[in-house]
Symmetry: C2
C-alpha cells in the first residue's frame, strides 16, 4: 500500500518519502511500517494544510464471514464498495489524491500547500508517530496552519458531520498462569485451580451485566454534565434506527433514547471485553484445561479521565478482585496501549471552512459531533503543533469499520472527495 501511494503521488508530480520508524517495541527485529511524508507546494502566500491518514487496517479473513475476499475491493450493485480498510482509512486517503488530481486536471491552481503524513500503525496505537511529529515540528511541519483528518464516520447514514471530540482508549491484558502446560480436563478436572475459571470470575467483576463499569473511582473522573452540554444532544440528527442499523437489530441496544445513546457514545466511558488468548477458540470440542490465559479488555475514556489515573484504578481493582478469589495461580494485569481522549474547538476557521464545504457539496450544514472511537494522533498533532485539528469524515456510521464486509458508499466517496476539494478552497480564503 505504501508503494502504491508513492506511485499515486508521483503521478501527481510530487513525492512521498518513506520515513523508517525503527523497531517495534518488545520485538527483537520487527521493523515498524514506514510513515509516508510528502509536500505539494511551498508558496509562502498560501496556507499550509496537513493531511493525516493511515494505510494499515484491522485483520480480516474471509472465514470471519466476509461475502468476498476482504483484500479485494468489490463494488456491490447497491452502491457499496466493500473491502477491509475501504472506509478505515484507505478510501479517504486515496480520495485526497483524487482531490489533487481534480485541481490539476481542471487547470485550477491548488489554493493551499499540502503536507501529507500517512502512517502504518494507527490500528496498533500509532507507535513511533508521536516521536516523529515532535521531531518534525520545527522542520517538515513547521509552517502547518491547520490539520485535517478524515478517519471517522458520520453519525448516521444521511447527515454530514464535522467531529470535534473523540474518546480515548486504554487497552489491558489480564493474564492468569497456572499449570505449566495445557492439561487433559478428564485427568485433571476437579483437582486443579483452572486459570480460565479464575479469569472468567475476574472479568465478571469488571462490569455488571448491563455493562456499567464496576471499577471504583472511575466514574468520578468523568467531567460533570452541564446544562449547556445536555442541550447539545437534542439537536443532533440521529435516531435509534441509525443505531439499530449499525447493530443489525434493536434488541442489542443498551438504551432506548437517542440522548442516552449519544451520551454513552461521546461522553461516558465504556468497557469492552474482547476475548481470551490461550484458551480453546476453534469450532468443535477440545477437552483442554489451558495452562495460561490472557483476557483482553479496553476502556474508552472521556474528559477528564487522566490515563495514568485510569490505569491505577484498574490495576488496584483487578488486584483486589483477584485476591478475593483466593487463587494461588499467578495474575498480572498490564496496559497494552493507551490513547487519550481529545476535545477540539469547533469554532475555529478550520471547522468553518469545512462547514462551508459540506454545505456547498451536500446542500446542508453539518452536525457538530463527537465520536466514540479513538484517534490518538488528533491530540498529538494539536498539542505538538499547536494548531487546530479538524475531523472531516467521509463514510457513514454503518460502514462497519473493523467489522466484516466493511464498506464505503460510492456516493460518499465521490461527494466526500468534492468536500475535500471545497474545503481546500474555503480554508485558503480564511
Amino acid at each position: 500500500m505504501a508503494a502504491y501511494l508513492q506511485q499515486l503521488a508521483e503521478s501527481l508530480d510530487f513525492s512521498l518519502e518513506q520515513r523508517a520508524m525503527g523497531i517495534q517495541a518488545g520485538t527483537p527485529n520487527l521493523e515498524l511500517p514506514p510513515v509516508l511524508l510528502g509536500r505539494l507546494g511551498t508558496d509562502s502566500n498560501k496556507k499550509t494544510i496537513l493531511i493525516y491518514g493511515h494505510y494499515d487496517v484491522q485483520p480480516a479473513e474471509k472465514s470471519d464471514g466476509w461475502t468476498h475476499e476482504p483484500f479485494e475491493v468489490f463494488q456491490h450493485k447497491d452502491g457499496r464498495l466493500i473491502g477491509r480498510g475501504i472506509t478505515d482509512d484507505k478510501g479517504p486517503v486515496i480520495a485526497w489524491f483524487n482531490a489533487i488530481q481534480a485541481y490539476q486536471r481542471s487547470g485550477v491552481e491548488l489554493p493551499v500547500n499540502l503536507i501529507f503524513c500517512i502512517e502504518g500503525m494507527e490500528e496498533s496505537g500509532s507507535e513511533g508517530l508521536e516521536s516523529l511529529i515532535r521531531l518534525e515540528k520545527s522542520r517538515y511541519f513547521k509552517d502547518v496552519d491547520a490539520i485535517c483528518i478524515s478517519d471517522n464516520y458520520w453519525l448516521g447514514s444521511t447527515q454530514p458531520v464535522l467531529t470535534y471530540g473523540l474518546r480515548g482508549c486504554s487497552y489491558y491484558a489480564l493474564k492468569i498462569s497456572g499449570p505449566n502446560a495445557d492439561l487433559h480436563s478428564g485427568v485433571f478436572g476437579g483437582t486443579c485451580r483452572e486459570p480460565t475459571n479464575d479469569l472468567i470470575h475476574l472479568m465478571s467483576k469488571l462490569t455488571n451485566p448491563q455493562g456499567d463499569i464496576l471499577i471504583p473511582g472511575l466514574q468520578e473522573l468523568v467531567a460533570p454534565l452541564t446544562t449547556e452540554e445536555a442541550k447539545l444532544y437534542d439537536n443532533i440528527t440521529f435516531s435509534m434506527q441509525d443505531l439499530y442499523k449499525g447493530l443489525g437489530n434493536s434488541y442489542s441496544a443498551r438504551f432506548e433514547s437517542e440522548k442516552e445513546t449519544l451520551m454513552a457514545r461521546w461522553r461516558e466511558p465504556a468497557l469492552s471485553i474482547h476475548g481470551i488468548e490461550g484458551a480453546f477458540a476453534a469450532p468443535g470440542a477440545k477437552t483442554v484445561i489451558p495452562a495460561s490465559v490472557t483476557g483482553k479488555f479496553s476502556i474508552r475514556t472521556v474528559p477528564n479521565m487522566e490515563p495514568a489515573k485510569v490505569d491505577k484504578l484498574v490495576f488496584d481493582y483487578v488486584n483486589k478482585c483477584f485476591q478475593d478469589l483466593h487463587s494461588h495461580n499467578q495474575m498480572t494485569v498490564s496496559l497494552i496501549n493507551t490513547g487519550k481522549w481529545w476535545l477540539s474547538s469547533p469554532k475555529d476557521v478550520n471547522f468553518e471552512a469545512a462547514a462551508k464545504a459540506t454545505e456547498a457539496v451536500w446542500g446542508k450544514a453539518p452536525d457538530l459531533t463527537r465520536e466514540g472511537g479513538s484517534i490518538p494522533v488528533c491530540l498529538i498533532f494539536e498539542q505538538t503543533l499547536g494548531k487546530n485539528v479538524l475531523l472531516l469524515p467521509m463514510g457513514r456510521g454503518d460502514d462497519g469499520a473493523h467489522s466484516v464486509d466493511e464498506k464505503l458508499d460510492v456516493l460518499n466517496y465521490i461527494e466526500g472527495t468534492k468536500t475535500f476539494i471545497a474545503y481546500l478552497h474555503y480554508i485558503s480564503n480564511t
Copy 2:
C-alpha cells in the same frame, strides 16, 4: 496412520480392513475416518480377545509451545519419546503389533485369537462406533470373550495400575448472539449489550471461584460415598508430588491431600471452561465487539449421574441465569457430545490375568484405580457385547496427553509391550 497400521498387520500375516463410517453428523459431505477391523486366529479352542485403540489424536501445532515438531517422534536422551499421540493412543496401539511380532519371531504360537478394533474418532466422541459395535455384535465380534483397552495412564510415574472406572463427559456450547456483525468498540462501546459481557457473566455462574459446580441438583445425582469406598483411597500409591509433577507446580492444586485429590478425580463431577469461540483470541490488541460468541464447557460425570438428567439441569440453570441477566441478546445452550461414565468389575478373570502379567513384568502387583478421563467406548463394549472390559494402561500420569510435548517413556513402551504379551498368556489360561 490407518494405511500404516494396515501395512504393519500385513507384515504380521493378517489384515486390517477399513470399514467406512459414513458422513459426519452436521456436515454435508465430510466422511468419517474409517474404523480398522482385523482378526488374527480362529481357533475355537482359544479365547478371543478384542483389542481396542484409536489412531486419531488431539490437535497440535508447534506454535502451541512444543519443543519439536509435534507430528514427528523425537527421542529425548532422558528416555522420553515425544510427539502428539505417542501415549494417547498411537504408542499403545503399535505396541500390540510388537507383541504379536514377539510371539511370531520367538516361534511361540499366539495363545489367543485376537480381534482388533481401531477407530479414528475417539477424540471427537467416537461418532459412529456404537452403531458399528451393535452391527458387528453377532458377526465380527460374536465370539469375543474379553476386551482389553490401553488408552489411559498410570496414576503416577512408578506404580503400574489396572483401571476399572472412568468418568463420563458432557460437553456444552453456550452461544450468545447480539449485533449481526463484529463492531468497532469505539463506535459502539457503551451503546450496546455486548455478547461477550453476557457470556462472561453467564459462565461465572457455572462454578464458584474455587471450582465447585453451582448447578442446583447436580451434586444430588452423585453416588453417596460408602465407608468401604472411602477406605479404598488410603491404599493407592499416589502422592501430591505426582499431581504437582502433572501440574508443573504445587500452587495450582485444588486440594492439599491425596485422598481429596483422588476423590475429586475419580468420583466427583468437575466443570471446566475451555474457551470462547468467536471472540478475539490472537496476541496483541483488537478493538472489536464480537457479534456472536460461543463459550465451551464440559462436565465430567460420575456414578450415578444420568447424562440426560445432567443435560436438563444444565439447560434449566443456564436459561435461568441468562434470564437473570435481563439481556435481550439471544442465547442458546446445547450439548456438543456426551459420553457416560463407566464402572467395571475388577474381580473378573480379565483383570486377574492383567494383574498377573503386570506382576510378572514389573515385579509388583498393580493398584486398582479409576480415572478422571472419558473413554465412552468402554461402556459401549461392555453393554453391547456383555463381556468384561479391562483398561490396561501403558503410559504414566505425567505423559501430558492432550498437552504440549506429550510423551511416552521408552521404559513404559518396552515393559508395557511385555505386559501385553504376558496378559495374552495369562488370559489364555483362565
